[in-house]
Amino acid sequence: MAITWCFQLRKFEFRYQPGHKPILVANELDIPAGTVISVTGPSGSGKSTLVACLGLLRSIQAPEGTLVFHSTDGLQDYGTLPLSQAEALRRSRFGFALQNSYLLPHLSVLDNLTIPLALKGLAEKDRRAMGTEMLACMPDLLDRQDAPVSQISGGQKQRVAVLRALIHGPDVVFADEPFSSLDQHNENLMLDSLLNWQRGEIGRSEGSEQPTRTLFLVTHNSKVAATAGQFRLSIQNGELNLTRNTNAVESMQ
């Protein structure tokens, strides 16, 4: 199967301030589309910064080189991307599951889960239907779908946050250590959800083509990194290094 890239970095360097030491450096890097990429590296190496750069969460103040995103809409050069286009990409192409759940406390479980659908313009009835379907595999959350999120546990919140990243069918999901507050059972459950989504088993309408979905999985768990990702993107002293994860490929095969 021919693998195309979703992100292309050329002579890319990211600094917080001009003249400062670069945080991230990539001379020539093509990140393949439709794959699971484990992002690894020691604490403070820049994993979250990489997610912020790729996911357009941080304005790149001192870019050097180029960072291009390839989607079905064409090529998007981050260096010249207008604000409205960045917002459109975050809304429809990207999904984010971060270390903290960041749910809105005054909304219910279902309302939090379906925010991306609301921003896409889906009617309330459709949103509820899709949200309920999404929660179907988690009976404890399904029972509490109309409860305020302040009344559910931290683990439940984290699961809602992970599902929220998937519900609108994005092309790329950035999962930045999303399992940190989960027990092993729920971690496995969520990892399965992410991998199922990447494989197109979640959020795909019947009869539609196999979507090209890319999952960035930032993790400190070497076992997860070794088994879940087809590629490993490691960061050492800011240098980005992409390698094929043979174990994962074999396991997938």
């Binding site: 357009l56 604000l83 917002e87 809304r91 984010f96 971060l98 960041y102 005054h106």
Partner: protein
Amino acid sequence: MTREQNEVRNYLRWYARQDLFAPIEKWVTRVMCGTFACNLFLLVLAVTAAFAMPEIQEHRLKTSLLARSIWIGQMNNSDKHFSPEKLNQLRETLARYLPESPPQVSGFHEVVLPLTLNQGDRLQRFYGRTVSDGDPLLQDLKKRQPEINSQFSGIIASDSLKEILKFSPGNALELQLQLEENSPEPIILSLPCRHVENLRLPNGHSFLIREAAYRELYSKGKAAKASNYVLQLPWDEFVELEELLEDDPEFKDCLSDVRTMDAAGVLRLRSSEQQYVWEWKDRFKKLSQVLAQVKPDGFTPPDKWNPQPEDLTLAEWIPPQTGFHNAEVRVNSVDDLSKAAAACREAGYPADDVLVQQVKNVQDSGRVLRWAVGIISALVLVSSVIVVAALQHLRWRQKTPETGMLRILGIKTQELGAIQNHQSCVLWLYSVFWVVAVWIVTASVMPFLFDTAEAEILLTVSFVVTLVVVAVALPLIRIALHFATRTARSISPLDALLGNDS
């Protein structure tokens, strides 16, 4: 607008309301709305007071029966008495000052009535003035109280007399009038009395009476008895006078009782028949004419004789038949008062400046009040905006991570603006609801606190002010919320999520 855009718009509105009225947020929202509503209502009160109170004061002046009047002349100064010619001269002078709306000029007399208010009470003297049948003041009185017609023979009591007499408006009283104070058998008459609301008379006057009614009153009481008058004449002049008029049949009677009183040459004249005082005065006038013909330079001018009643009887208060003690200048608008006063001064009649000053003070204080309230209003508005902006800023600062999350989920900047706008509208609606509710309650109480016309002024002014304040409040609250949420909208989504808003 596509169906999707419409759905997004509805969702943002729903989200905005949820954000304001979630259980943990609703108290902040209530405090914001309450503070803003209080400030708005204070503003309505202040601006209404600034614009309505001078209007009410002017209204009170304009509707006051005598607010457009200047009284001139002095009762005891015969040089300043108003003959018909003098009144015409005064009219001409006034017409020069106020050609477009020449004031009406009418003469009147200052009169006094001795009244016994209660059985056995001491006699009290009350001063008042006459009104002639064509007097504009009487026309205004008739409009207010139709029973005061041209035949009304009683007195029209002012507010001050009403207080003394303690009778309610609209009631008619019969007062005991005692003529001839020092007479062993006083003449007591009943006098109808009516009160006209808001009749406040200057110069210590406490009543009005038709001139004809006043004369009739004394005629009824046969008050026109013979009265001893004292003439201050030098002795030699008196002798000459006696010789000159000895054979004159017209003066024979009056000179028949001539007596010298002392060495200073005091002449006492007593008529042989009962006569009115003005008839005595007519006699003196004729006498002066005769003397002027016979001895133009030799005599003390008769108008300096100043005949005075020897005994104090009420008959002295009967006014002269021709001319008036005083005159009333009635302008068409209170704004003309100062010019009319200047015209009176030019004509040689010092005008009472009190009313002119009063009107000027009302207008000046109105200007000062409006300036003061303008500044206070601006401060109130600024403080409202600051309070709302500060509270909303604190709320958004606390909610910056939520805003960051929404931005990470792809909400557009203008959609955040739409949430903020909708929240502005909701806050505005809630604030305005309270302002309007309090206004309605206040408006329903106004008729009990003010008279109808004043309540109407207050209602009209406060209604307009409320509309303006309500209209101004919306952009203000939008400005406040715009500044409050600017930071959360302008920083990067990740910084907002992490609360790095500095």
